[in-house]
Symmetry: D2
Amino acid sequence: MKVGFIGLGNMGAAMAANLVEAGHDVTVWNRSPDKADALVETGATLAQYPADAAQGDVVMTMLADDAAVEAVVFGEHGIAGAPAIHVSHSTISIALAERLAATSGGGFVSAPVFGRPPAAEAGQLFVIAAGDSALVDACQPLFDAIGQRTFRIGDTAPAANLVKLSGNFMIMAAVEAMAEAMTLAEKGGVDRKLLLEVLTGTLFGAPIYRTYGEIIVEDRFRPAGFAAPLGLKDMTLADAAATRYGAVMPLLGIVRDQLRSAIAVDGEDVDWAAAASSVRHASGIALKGQ
Amino acid sequence: MKVGFIGLGNMGAAMAANLVEAGHDVTVWNRSPDKADALVETGATLAQYPADAAQGDVVMTMLADDAAVEAVVFGEHGIAGAPAIHVSHSTISIALAERLAATSGGGFVSAPVFGRPPAAEAGQLFVIAAGDSALVDACQPLFDAIGQRTFRIGDTAPAANLVKLSGNFMIMAAVEAMAEAMTLAEKGGVDRKLLLEVLTGTLFGAPIYRTYGEIIVEDRFRPAGFAAPLGLKDMTLADAAATRYGAVMPLLGIVRDQLRSAIAVDGEDVDWAAAASSVRHASGIALKGQ
Amino acid sequence: MKVGFIGLGNMGAAMAANLVEAGHDVTVWNRSPDKADALVETGATLAQYPADAAQGDVVMTMLADDAAVEAVVFGEHGIAGAPAIHVSHSTISIALAERLAATSGGGFVSAPVFGRPPAAEAGQLFVIAAGDSALVDACQPLFDAIGQRTFRIGDTAPAANLVKLSGNFMIMAAVEAMAEAMTLAEKGGVDRKLLLEVLTGTLFGAPIYRTYGEIIVEDRFRPAGFAAPLGLKDMTLADAAATRYGAVMPLLGIVRDQLRSAIAVDGEDVDWAAAASSVRHASGIALKGQ
Amino acid sequence: MKVGFIGLGNMGAAMAANLVEAGHDVTVWNRSPDKADALVETGATLAQYPADAAQGDVVMTMLADDAAVEAVVFGEHGIAGAPAIHVSHSTISIALAERLAATSGGGFVSAPVFGRPPAAEAGQLFVIAAGDSALVDACQPLFDAIGQRTFRIGDTAPAANLVKLSGNFMIMAAVEAMAEAMTLAEKGGVDRKLLLEVLTGTLFGAPIYRTYGEIIVEDRFRPAGFAAPLGLKDMTLADAAATRYGAVMPLLGIVRDQLRSAIAVDGEDVDWAAAASSVRHASGIALKGQ
């Protein structure tokens, strides 16, 4: 297929590379064009403007936040009026997803993903797709190139964003739960690493507990895999959705405060798992290495 | 080995049966002696008093709460002065575990378990053991008969209780997280069953999410597998441990309120997973079947 | 002074009337011009466009939210380029206050007020003013006409908005505290009216406890003096400020959820004091009259 | 009247002195008898045992916690079987108040007080009394000697304890609200002293906001007027009441965590107002003098 890809950060560059490798005709665009060099070497074409990447079948966007998406869609030389189906992989607000669905010329599919950069490189992301089913069908070969499995959420595009925000909230909820349990254990004389072994060896054998559990045990919050301010941004999008739809979410309130605290006390450069540092500090436990 | 077993509820009866089947010489006691009938038929001996079950190598207790344990240990004809090693499987307070450790005549091992009745029947519990290592070694054949794996937490017996309380807190934390995410999804137009499929199919593939997730999706809170008042009791023990050790646990505060609310609104006979009903009610969603 | 007044709701109409009565030359504008009839009868002039009300010394705005303020300032025939000092009385976001301060032609003063409609009618509001001190000095005669006292918060205009948001948060915090204490008392057999008498008769003799306490005792949430969705809007502005400045505010998180719950369960037309209904419902207490 | 007084701490000694001054025949007892010296000099009699102070019309107890009250009532030479009416001023659990009411020989009145030591010295306490009305009538002259006003809560003695616990919760709720608002203001560039002036000068003119507000503005947490561990004990009694009666109290959960954090981070010797330090620390603000 003839596909454009806009946004070549850690995630986007890996996803675009997999599209190239799968044999698609890929045109890329990034605000800093040098990020495209490696892709161009493997056969991708560099576009001058976002709109240039949206003249084929599909254009995918993978960007940091609402503002970045709005810039490439509605900004000068944006993709707003272009003929390609717009597939949005970014974690954005429900409100922006609705606006994109309502204004897209070529059709709109929301397709946020679960997975960190190594999963993106391996083509092992999970794709959460929603939108008109004919459009999603058309995009399925592309999703197969970047992910291990696609979940279809229905015809209403923003529903996929809601699922993505819910999933990110669940991750932070698990981080908070581990942080509190480890703090209780440690202050009561039980090594937190041992507690994690028991948890993951019994009822909590999911990847999320292993991956984040080790980060928390080691206080390994730098360098950030996913920075705390981005995590706070996502939780604020979830909070806006909760207000919009009338959902009561006290645990969401807690994790937002923990992220604010991590940023205020530990700095902007920590991983979002540093939300776990807040109950440590509040309980009088120093972080390792401090 | 010559072993006594005190407390023949759903969990205890299944554990005692596995000890009999493994060839041990088992003497049982229960406040309502008729609960022992089936075990006696398979070869167990019925004791008249708790102390009579504590004259062998080991006496195990599996009871509902601190008061029940205090009664069989320190009450009339209790096991307090008996020669057997006391292995406590009950979910009890840190304070009582300390008292039992300090006063036991034959030695004391704390060995709470993870697993619901079907796991107990299958001999597939997880045993969390702490105490003098020679004592734990001596009990290992018994743990092998009731469980699939034993985690050793160290020499201080109450440490095992702290791990058990932490684990139960983690379960309630996962229930709260799912309840909030499903409420957000549902109010935003996404079926909660579909959300659960995405979660368990991606990052949250642990048994706890499958088991409790289905209960929450279906609002299947009756009959109770583990009743909400018992869950609240456990969370209150965790809270007492947090005060004792100086741990800050805001999420624990939330789940305790959700359990109080479930009991106040839905009744005492609901499963502890009904903690999930609180954010439903607060968000204006009726439970299924209401 | 020659002063314009934009926004003639319950609060604004009363404030404008006091300006007329104090002898100022008042030009008014409202989206629905019929709201100006009574004022015109007493001597005010009706403007065709917002900008027409901003040609004198000062133009005051008292509107429902950010969007309404943006419309009269930056919209067609807005006051953005007009010569008058812009005094903003509305409860708006820190971000909008900054933008207004940065773009105002005639100078900008933030002057949100504390007080409900009866206080506005009596000219007994509290004015919270911030901005260039010469500008605030110039506006002082106007503040004296609408309020009983002016608090000056400094040179940076948005600081007054931050104080206003903090004050509204404090009101909701007191509502939540009373709601929880009354629920505890009532479920324990103590009449909530009696509890309120003890509280206001001892340590809590402030107006806020008397006024809101009686509303909560009586579950008198309709008609709304200040509607719950507006209260939630204010708490969301406070939340945005907390994120912006890095402040941890768990109690703010709670009151936001209580407001969401009140709206979801009781409806959009309840007073913001209906935040108190959430712990009632969660504790299994029916509201009076239900 | 012939009255005994047990417990001569800061509060109790001042209360007993006012009884002597009002002309009553006062017998005192304290675990450390030297605390009675000043009272004996003014005419009080020193008892050898608690029971010796309970042979007259009334015996009052003012002690630190449940354990201390249990010791003087049910311990050796305790007042349990004595003929005097037992008036309990201590802040104790609902459960203990019920037990005292059920077992008292001479009748039982619960009469906890609001007020700090200076109010006790001035005879200006608020007395919260509950119990059989004939008994309360009999004690009224004594309450008049120690307090400025008596609130009668009804016939069920523990109801007075519930009101006292509710009031202490309200104080901590106000502390938390001020701490969060001041933290938000300070991080946004508004002096917290100025914010307090606005709050107490407008809607929050109650003594509680002035007294605690100044403590919080100055971070004046030492020496403790009422120590944080005692405050945490009271909040834990309120929590036990919430569990017992089925009341949902999320704000109570927060203040308990803040007190745990203050003790863990700042030490056991801080005032309970140091609960305010927790959001400061979490938001990256250092306490004054640190």
